[in-house]
Every structure is written in C-alpha cells, then in structure tokens.
C-alpha cells in the first residue's frame, strides 16, 4: 500500500471515528424530558415530535394516587434535564425522587398547571371550596397546559421554540375538533337538567365542558374508599338528590358499584382516569375520547329514559 492509499484509509478511519463521536454527542444533546403522568407524555410527544427523549418517571402499571418512590426511579431521575409535572396534586412523589437523586437543582421543572384557571372540586370540606387538580382529564384545561408546556420548553430549547409553538397550536386544533364531535352529539339536550354523581372526584373539568353538574362525589377523600357508613350516607344523598347517573372509574371495586346500583337504581358508567397502562403518544386522545363517548352516551341514555317515562 503506498503512502497515498495509507493516508486515505487513515483519513477514512478518523472520519468514521469523528462522526461516531459527533453522533454520540448529538444524541446526548437531545433534551431528556421526564414526565409524571400519562397525559403529559402524550402532550410532550405531540408538542416536540421527536426532538426530545421522553422519560416516564414511574414505570407503567403503577397507581399514581398512592405511589411510593422505587430505587429505579432515582436512577431515571438522575438522567433528566427537564421534568413536566402537575405540581398541584397526584405527583408529589416526583419531588421526593428528585431529592433522593440529588438532582433537584439540576432538573428544570415545568409545572403544567402554572397558568391554568382552576375550578373548585365538587363537594366541599368544612364548607370551603377546594381546587380540583385533575386538569389532565379535559380538553379545555389540556389546551391551556399544552400552550404552557410548549412555551416553557421553548425557553429551555430556544432552537426548537417555534416548532413547539406551531405543534402546540396544531394539537390544540385537533383536540378541539375531537371535543366538538361529542359536544354536538348533545344537540337538543340540556345536560344541566341531569343530575350526576361521580365515584372519584376527578371529572369536574370534563363534566364542566359538557355542561353537567356533579351533585355528589362518592369517595370520602381523594383516592380513598368509602367505609360502610360513608357509603350509606352517599346512597342516601344520591336518592335525595334524584341522581340518575353515576360515573364510576376503572379500578374501583365492583362491590361498591353494585351496591350503589342496587340501592339507588341509578345507571352506572365507567370512565378512565388516563393515568393507567402504557405511555404512548395517542394515549391522551384515546382516553379522553373514551370518556367523552361514555359521558355523552350516559346523557343520551338518560334523556331516552326520561322521554319514555314521560309518554
């Protein structure tokens, strides 16, 4: 091999090596965005396309309401640049994990609810209005958060800020169209006339979007199962308020649901909390569409029954 050929081979090897290093460096440059709840995974994925790596802070399959941090969470947390979290409920564990990983000062926090207009939770504690933290189970509150997350990510990653803003708007349009389909199913119906109860106090934002008033919440406190006497009180309340529809949720024990159904005669429909199962881009759309379909079915069924009764 002459000198020229040797130099060419050496140059090619160096180029490959440098490209490899460069590639690794570029891969490392990709922002690592942690999320605490499933909807945030979907929102960040839709806002950023593939510009960031999205890392769920806790593995799929855990119940967020009573989550206790695991050792593996600390490993994951130590690799994050940013964490998107609710900040007003459901993910207090995140700060514990960041503290345990000693990265609380390094990881930039995006509180999705920072600029979101909150509404009171149905029911009250000592007559006081408490805010409802379930802003992730509704379209309007989701849109507010999507704009907020996009703006905050844009500040951290200015190079892609314009892309995030445009994507957030396109995603908001998509979600609004999805909601319009279900709102218009209720044409000619006045949902405000229907009294409903929910097992879990997580659906006030969703009910508000469809003009439904939640007359009672069955669980005595967020994420807690009712005792026998509390269940009896709720059943009495459902009867007194003439509640016709009760929205349960997956993972709520069947025995409670059956008792309520038997004792009150109310129709039971099951909603999803969108914080269960796998993390993926379309998770929020699928979950919220499921809930909107169930909700509008319930209203239309109740109206059909009311009309039959009137004849």
């Amino acid at each position: 091999m002459n000198l020229f050929k040797r130099s060419a081979v050496l140059a090619a090897v160096c180029a490959c090596f440098l490209l490899g290093i460069g590639g690794t460096a570029l891969a490392k440059d990709k922002l690592r965005v942690g999320i605490t709840l499933h909807p945030y995974y979907s929102w960040v994925a839709n806002i950023t396309d593939d510009k960031v790596d999205i890392i769920p802070l806790i593995p799929a399959g855990f119940e967020v309401h009573n989550y206790e941090p695991q050792p593996d969470d600390i490993k994951r947390a130590s690799t994050l640049d940013v964490l998107v979290m609710n900040g007003i409920g459901h993910d207090d564990f995140a700060l514990k994990i960041l503290e345990a990983a000693e990265v609380k000062d390094k990881v930039k926090l995006i509180y999705s609810n920072e600029g979101v207009a909150l509404i009171p939770a149905s029911g009250s504690v000592n007559g006081e209005k408490m805010y409802n933290p379930h802003t992730f189970i509704a379209i309007t509150a989701a849109i507010q958060q999507i704009y907020n997350i996009a703006a905050e990510l844009g500040k951290i990653d200015p190079e892609n800020a314009e892309l995030y803003r445009k994507n957030s708007r396109a995603y908001a349009v998509k979600l609004r169209k999805l909601k319009a389909i279900y709102v218009n199913r209720l044409a000619g119906v006045d949902p405000a006339q229907l009294r409903v109860a929910t097992i879990h106090g997580g659906y006030d934002y969703l009910m508000q979007e469809f003009g439904l008033d939640v007359a009672a919440v069955i669980e005595p406190a967020h994420g807690l199962m009712p005792s026998a006497s509390q269940l009896k009180e709720t059943i009495d309340k459902i009867r007194a308020l003439n509640v016709k529809v009760v929205f349960s949720q997956m993972m709520f024990p069947d025995q409670f649901v059956e008792t309520i159904k038997r004792e009150t005669g109310a129709s039971i429909y099951t909603l999803v909390h969108i914080t269960e199962g796998d993390y993926y881009k379309a998770k929020f759309e699928e979950g919220i569409e499921y809930d909107m379909r169930v909700l509008t079915d319930a209203v239309l069924d109740a109206q059909g029954k009311a009309q039959k009764a009137a004849k």
């Binding site: 009171p120 609004r176 949902p191 508000q208 979007e209 003009g211």
Partner: protein
C-alpha cells in the same frame, strides 16, 4: 414480736409521675404545633376584581375557561399574523365559546362581537359576549392587548412579551358594548375583572380569594 406499719398503696406517686409525663408530652406537642403553624394567605383582589374560582357560577366558569383557552390561541395567532382574529374566524376554527355548539344554548346564549381599540402604543381587541339569558350567565368581555416590549439591543426577548389579556364580567341585563378598555372606565360601567385562581398560586401556598 416485730410489727411493721405498711402504708396503703394509694398510687399517689405513680399518679403524679403519670401526670407529669402527660404535662411534658402536651407541652412539647403544643410548642411544636405553634412552631410549625402556618397561615394560608388568600389571593388579594382589587375592588374592581372578582374571583373566577369563587365568584362565578359553574356555568360561568365553563364560559370563562373557554375564553381563557381561546385567549392563548389568540396570542399565538397574533404572533404569526400581528393581527387579532375576528369572531367569524374564531367560529370557523370552532373555538368555544365563540362557535355555536349544543352547549351555547344552555350557557347564556352569548352573542359575540369584536371591537378593535388602538392607542397609547398598544393594539387591542375586545370580544364582547352579550348574554341573552342573565339567569344562566352574565355578559363577558375578553380584552386582548399587544404592547410592543422595549427590549435593549442585543438582549434576548420573551416571545410572549407584550401580550396580555383580561376577562371582564357584567350582570346588567341592558349592558352595552364597552367603548373604552381602561380599568376605571370598565369598572364605572359595572364591569368586574374575573381573575383566575391558577396552579402557580397553589404552589405559593395561596388560597382563592373572593370579592369583598
């Protein structure tokens, strides 16, 4: 014969010790409670403001939240086009509460008009939603404003800088479209600014205020 007088076991000492322990425990706990006690502060509202959280009905909160989300959309569009959308545009884009849906009929049946305001270096658009049924919801007035920020040469600017919005509410049945958008003029006409209770205020440990 040896005799010994044995005092009856009254438990006086034990009782006293137990009482002393109780006093110590209660004193320590009391001191800790006093030391760790914090008072939640309430969001302070101005006389012309009301709380969207505490002072609006559930129906009005629905309209308010739709307007709040629409305002974010309007800001984003304004960044691209340097203009505010018309009511027709908003309806074409199916943006609530401007677009008529099955819900419009049960939430006050607001009739929307857009009113441009220029002056004092700002470009504003007012979206006036006159209620047709005050029993369901009051009238709303969304004011979008863009005031070009003064950014020193070479300084990085916040892309949303200069853009702001406010949502006003009026319960008068005969309310007319506002002709001015400054706080004093609106307040004089009976408008009250509805202020959202937001997530960042929860994190600061504040509780929602209410109109006085």
């Amino acid at each position: 014969m040896h005799s010994q007088i044995v005092k009856p076991a009254t438990g006086h000492f034990e009782g006293a010790y137990l009482l002393a322990v109780c006093v110590v425990v209660l004193s320590v706990c009391g001191a800790l409670i006093v030391q760790r006690h914090t008072t939640l502060e309430t969001v302070q509202l101005q006389p012309y403001q009301i709380s969207a959280f505490a002072d609006l009905s559930k129906t009005e909160q629905g309209v308010f939240n739709d307007l709040y989300a629409a305002a974010l959309e309007l800001q984003s569009v304004h960044r691209d086009n340097q203009s505010w959308l018309s009511v027709d545009d908003l309806q074409d884009l199916a943006i609530p509460p401007f677009a008529e849906t099955a819900l419009t009929k049960t939430r006050g049946g607001h009739l929307w008009t857009a009113i441009p305001f220029e002056g004092k270096g700002a470009s504003s658009m007012g979206y006036f939603g006159k209620t047709t049924r005050t029993s369901e919801a009051r009238s709303f007035f969304l004011v979008m404003t863009y005031r070009p920020p003064q950014v020193p040469a070479g300084a990085a600017s916040d892309p949303n800088a200069g853009r702001s919005f406010a949502i006003w509410v009026n319960g008068a049945a005969a309310v007319a479209a506002p002709t001015a958008i400054d706080t004093a003029a609106l307040a004089d006409l009976g408008w009250r600014e509805a202020v959202a209770f937001k997530g960042d205020q929860v994190q600061q440990g504040l509780t929602a205020g209410a109109a006085k």
